[in-house]
């Protein structure tokens, strides 16, 4: 008889024990997937908030007067290569998402109706790749050359479909295609225009210059912000780091807290479930000692006996992993909306996690059944079969 058939016949015969083992996998899968999905959703929302609010660390030339920076705009600039040098430094790891920015007040922008306004111009350099650190999704503004994103207050003065026209420092007017009209409530950019850095440098005649680097630094209370300051100053002593606290900080703290709990809860639940599974398989082997003794007497090999136990664990692990993935997603969707107020779109099935589930859970459950399976191979057939 086919051994696989024997596995399934036994699995369906001892329904209660099989169901409890399946349940342990489902619980482990559900908890792991739910926590991981919520953590990812929280991370995505944090990223979204940060993208809307801007990054939380500003790197300025040393001695920059921030009042002047925001009100007048004639603060010192520095070479844009500084961003790349920081990104390429192996010792610079406390800060992520380095974005070089040229930000100036432009006092005489004339809208299509002929009215003059003071606006803010922001030129964004493409976010620098820190190739010595794990890759992350970019957070900064990504403005294509020849295009602009206009703030809500400025957009009111430009009709849909019209270009954005601005006079350069050389007296020549330049026209840009408006790629996006931003919504209101995004801070300084409400009264500003976001350019590609190269375009704005050309408008202002400030080729190769920026006056600020925005970045994301960890706001946790473990001194990493201080570390970031030290790291920047070790590379460029003429720069200094300023922290901007925001809602994003709180959100980031929430995410870190979730990760911290997740790092404890997921292994705890999985290990508990594995322990229960190990005990259930031990009980299963004890109950089946006569069957196993008989198979040995019939000349079945040690591998066949191992297979009977391990294959059962594998199939239950696989089934539980698949069910656990989907139930974990449903739990994350339910609690994500109810407790964390995530937007529905942030909680999506993480298909890469699904692949982990269908590999990891069968493997873990096979490992949990390993000792009972070994004990099964050591059953003394003569002893068990001669019992009256």
């Amino acid at each position: 008889m086919n051994l696989l058939r024997l596995v399934f016949e036994e699995l369906f015969y001892r329904k209660v024990s099989s169901l409890i083992i399946l349940l342990t996998v489902i619980i482990a899968g559900t908890v792991s997937v739910a926590i991981y999905t919520l953590s990812k959703a929280s991370e995505n929302e944090t990223r979204k908030i940060m993208r809307e609010q801007g990054l939380n660390l500003y790197i300025f030339p040393k001695g920059t007067n921030l009042i002047d920076f925001y009100s007048i705009g004639n603060t010192p600039s520095f070479p844009e290569e500084y961003v790349d040098k920081l990104a390429e430094s192996k010792t610079f790891d406390a800060v992520r998402h380095l974005t070089g920015i040229l930000q100036v007040r432009y006092s005489d922008w004339t809208d299509p109706n002929g009215s003059s306004h003071q606006i803010v111009l922001l030129g964004y350099k493409d976010e620098a790749m820190q190739r010595f650190l794990p890759a992350q999704e970019t957070m900064g503004f990504d403005v294509e050359k020849g295009k602009v994103h206009v703030g809500a207050l400025i957009a009111r003065n430009i009709r849909a479909g019209d270009p954005f026209i601005i006079k350069g420092s050389d007296g020549r007017s330049r026209s840009f295609q408006i790629e996006e009209r931003l919504e209101e409530g995004k801070g300084m950019i409400d009264q500003g225009v976001a350019f590609n850095l190269g375009d704005l440098q050309d408008v202002l005649g400030m080729q190769g210059k920026i006056n600020k680097i925005e970045a994301l630094g960890c706001v946790c209370k473990d001194g990493r912000i201080k570390n970031a300051r030290n790291q920047v100053q070790a590379i460029f002593s003429d720069l200094e780091v300023t922290e901007l606290s925001s809602i994003a900080d709180a959100r980031e703290n929430q995410r870190l807290m979730m990760n911290k709990y997740g790092a404890f809860i997921i292994p705890f639940v999985i290990l508990s479930c594995l322990l229960i599974t190990g005990l259930l398989f031990y009980q299963n082997v004890t109950v089946r000692s006569h069957e196993i003794g008989l198979l040995k007497a019939m000349g079945k090999s040690t591998y066949s006996i191992l297979f009977l136990i391990i294959a059962k664990a594998f199939f239950l692990g696989l089934a539980g992993g698949i069910i656990g993935f989907f139930s974990g997603h449903l739990v994350a969707e339910y609690f994500g909306k109810e407790i964390f107020r995530f937007t529905a779109s942030d909680i999506k099935p993480l298909w890469n996690v699904f692949y982990y589930c269908i590999i990891l859970f069968p493997v873990l459950w096979v490992l949990a059944s390993w000792i009972p399976a070994l004990l099964a191979t050591r059953i003394d057939a003569a002893k068990t079969l001669s019992q009256e």
Binding site: L6, E10, H290, G293, A297, M298, G299, S301, L385
Partner: protein, 222 residues
């Protein structure tokens, strides 16, 4: 066919040493029907399992068709059991989750086995029970299923450990006539039993006491 040479086996229970077999030498020829009798603890079952390759003796050799089975590697000893031996036990040991045919199929490979199974089911009056589970069978039916499982692969030797121990007189008689038929067909039987009547089916009686052979008598063929 099988020769036991100076087989000894002791078991230890705590500090107590129990001698199950003591310097047993025995030859079993093809076609023998041996009944092994003796009081409890005489070493009857141990003798059976030593021949079955399931209890490694402390000393001595078990030679089957010229090869010492305890010098075989694990794979070959498994093959020795699966190809040459059929086991029957007092407790039947049927898989509770397999039907009658499922239990019989456990012991045989191959695709064209159905006719053979049907033949034996018919012969053992189990044709109507083929799709029943052990829990739905009487003890006699269970033991007949175990008998078919033991002989379906046509082993040379049937090792039976108190096969009638749980059967009433009528069922014992049915089973023993089936075993006798198997023996008449050329099969060798080694059967452990307490029941003196069962010994009447055998052509050779081996009596053990305290691990030693007390009687090894061949009866004229009945």
């Amino acid at each position: 066919m099988i020769e036991l040479k100076n087989i000894s086996k002791e078991f230890t229970h705590g500090t107590e040493i129990f001698t199950a077999l003591s310097d047993i030498s025995l030859k079993i020829k093809k076609g023998d029907f041996c009944s092994v009798t003796g009081p409890s603890g005489a070493g009857k079952s141990t003798l059976l399992y030593v021949i079955g390759g399931l209890i490694h003796p402390d000393s001595g050799r078990v030679i089957y068709n010229g090869m010492d089975i305890y010098k075989l590697n694990r794979r070959d000893i498994n093959q020795y059991r699966s190809k040459n031996l059929g086991f029957m036990f007092q407790q039947f040991h049927l898989m509770p989750y397999l039907t009658v045919t499922g239990n019989i199929r456990l012991a045989c490979d191959g695709k064209n086995i159905e006719d053979k199974i049907s033949f034996y089911l018919e012969k053992c009056s189990l044709a109507d029970m083929r799709n029943k589970y052990p829990s739905e069978l009487s003890v006699g039916e269970k033991q007949r299923t175990a008998f078919i499982r033991a002989i379906i692969s046509e082993p040379e030797i049937l090792l039976a450990d108190e096969p009638t121990g749980n059967l009433d007189a009528a069922n014992s008689e049915i089973l023993m006539s089936l075993v006798k038929d198997y023996n008449k067909g050329g099969g060798t039987v080694l059967m452990v039993s307490h029941d003196p009547e069962i010994s009447g089916y055998a052509n050779r009686n081996i009596s053990l006491c305290k691990g030693r052979i007390q009687l090894n008598k061949t009866e004229p063929s009945s």
